[in-house]
Assembly symmetry: C2
Homo-oligomer: 335 residues x 2
């Protein structure tokens, strides 16, 4: 940088300031630096930069399961917004393993990130370690809430997802039974079950929850196996099924196909199946899946905005607030 400052005719500290924020130097100075930059393609040493900086420009993005395209999509959004804001995002996946989640946060800490966007595993997360991390690093939790942790939570309003699907299904046909995993990894699943029970009651209908066995993040397989059992034993109390999430529904549809159960609306069909999340593949299932879509845009937007506010506020908010976005019903052929 010394040499580069020399050839560009500017003092080194000013060049340093330029790299910290190009707008913090005079326009004429900036022009001279950028001109010299063209000719010498100098780039500051990242490690030396971050060694003494109070705040790095690093942002950690941690999702529970990257092989789920839903998280891949949301991660892409978050990543791009961070880059646009001049930060260096780094993406991590816990791969559904609580220990790995802790390890990621542990490693993240030594990167001294300005902030972290964390979608925790949920029920399985090691709460204490996460809490400890949140105290040390400015963290915004998204997608899956853990009570009281992080400076803020941004996610989707599970009640809205359930209410819209239940309302639509029950006014267009039989009221739905609810298909879910018995031990959901994600707290959203519990909220959805409760919302289902509430909504059915509010509508004066009799709820019926079908909890199938299975743990972990292989939702499709769990949905398929559970679906096969349920269909074989004829445990459905309604010709309409609302799945707790799309990946479960994809597995359930697969089971229906195998059992020769025709899924769709109206004459010639045995079953209506709807779900929640609007998974990227939901429109390509057979039949295409009626579902409730997340407001990706809003969630990721608000998440990064909140994180930047948090960073500017010095890493602490007065109160931890939670933002929930409603769902948008997507009608397709399955229900």
């Amino acid at each position: 940088m010394e040499e580069f400052a020399a050839v560009s005719g500017i003092s080194r500290p000013t060049v340093s300031k330029y790299f910290h924020d190009p707008d913090s130097v005079r326009a004429s100075t900036r022009a001279r630096i950028e001109e010299a930059l063209e000719r010498y393609d100098y780039r500051p040493n990242v490690y030396a930069m971050n060694q003494n900086r109070r705040l790095t420009k690093n942002v950690g993005i941690v999702v529970p399961y990257l092989a789920d395209p839903f998280f891949a999509e949301i991660a892409r959004n978050l990543e791009q917004r961070c880059i646009d804001a001049g930060y260096r995002p780094t993406l991590y996946s816990s791969h559904g393993i609580p220990d790995q989640e802790v390890e990621i946060l542990d490693g993240l800490r030594s990167l001294k990130p300005a902030g972290v966007l964390l979608a925790p595993l949920g029920r399985a997360s090691h709460k204490k370690e996460i809490e400890r991390f949140c105290k040390a690093v400015p963290t915004v939790i998204f997608d899956s809430n853990i009570e009281g942790m992080g400076a803020a939570f941004i996610g989707s309003d599970n009640a809205s997802f359930v209410d819209q699907t239940v309302d639509y299904l029950s006014r267009s046909g039989d009221a739905p039974c609810f298909f879910e995993m018995r031990h959901p990894a994600n707290p959203n699943a519990n909220k959805r079950r409760i919302a289902y029970l509430n909504r059915m009651e509010a509508l004066g209908l009799t709820p019926h929850v079908i909890s199938v066995p299975g743990e972990g993040w292989a939702f499709e397989e769990i949905g398929r196996q559970g679906g096969l059992q349920v269909l074989k034993r004829d445990q459905l109390t309604s010709d309409t099924v609302l799945c707790s999430n799309d990946r479960l529904a994809i597995g359930f549809l697969s089971a229906c196909y195998e059992r020769n159960v025709r899924v769709g609306i109206g004459e010639g069909f045995d079953l209506r199946v709807a779900s929640m999340d609007d998974h990227p593949f939901a429109r390509f299932t057979c039949p295409p899946l009626t579902t409730a879509a997340h407001d990706y845009e809003a969630v990721s937007n608000r998440s990064v905005e909140t994180l930047f506010e948090l960073i500017e506020a010095g890493g602490k908010f007065g109160t931890r607030n939670e933002t929930l976005y409603p769902a948008r019903l997507i009608l397709r052929a399955s229900a």
Copy 2:
């Protein structure tokens, strides 16, 4: 580190050496350090460490499209193996955008990685920039080959994929026509088309390639739209379709469903559909997809092994060698 060295009763440089390689110090010394580590939970500053180290322990993993669970899976594999070997992997996705790919490599360079595992976009990649990168950083290319770039290439043998599926299909029913994108983003697609033509010729059969329009990485949608057109115009020359890849096939199956074309084997079915890749969702399509599976394990294993050899060899190999792994045929209900 100075302080930590003091409380553990060891000199700082020795502690430094310990962190560089715990086995490089005497056992008694190591024990004392690790004991002190328990009590003070000190961790070396990553930035100061990497500032003067010849080689960092960073490894970059770059995939073309992370929202494709196939790449998410392979990335997970690679990531884990790097961690096991004591490296710090960082995952990046080009999101199907050539400029982004270049930007990632650009940013990666300032991280001074020990090596990089790169699955390039392929046809769309900015070749010159990638070549420049490969010259500066020890790089192993995987999944999608770019002639002559990187120190080695590890991927799947497209001919094996095609031969196995074509052989199976043509001996169990009508010979397949080949369904593909007109302008495939990935060079594997071209190799597969050529392999199809060759194999059909070798078997004395008449090949028929159906190229549908569409660019980018939204393969499912391209497959669906293309499928709808093909079915509407009745352009299939055979009752058996071999899709160039599973994501395309998922879209094609969706089109079949919409057009009321029954996919499966034997009586009561109109069409057999097979494909290649064994996408994580291929077993959950309706019907489940007959496909040729990558040897994930072997590809990721060999890729990281090669990278480590490359790093130990100082970043250069005498000759660039290519390793291809054969496919494994997965029979399901679709063909």
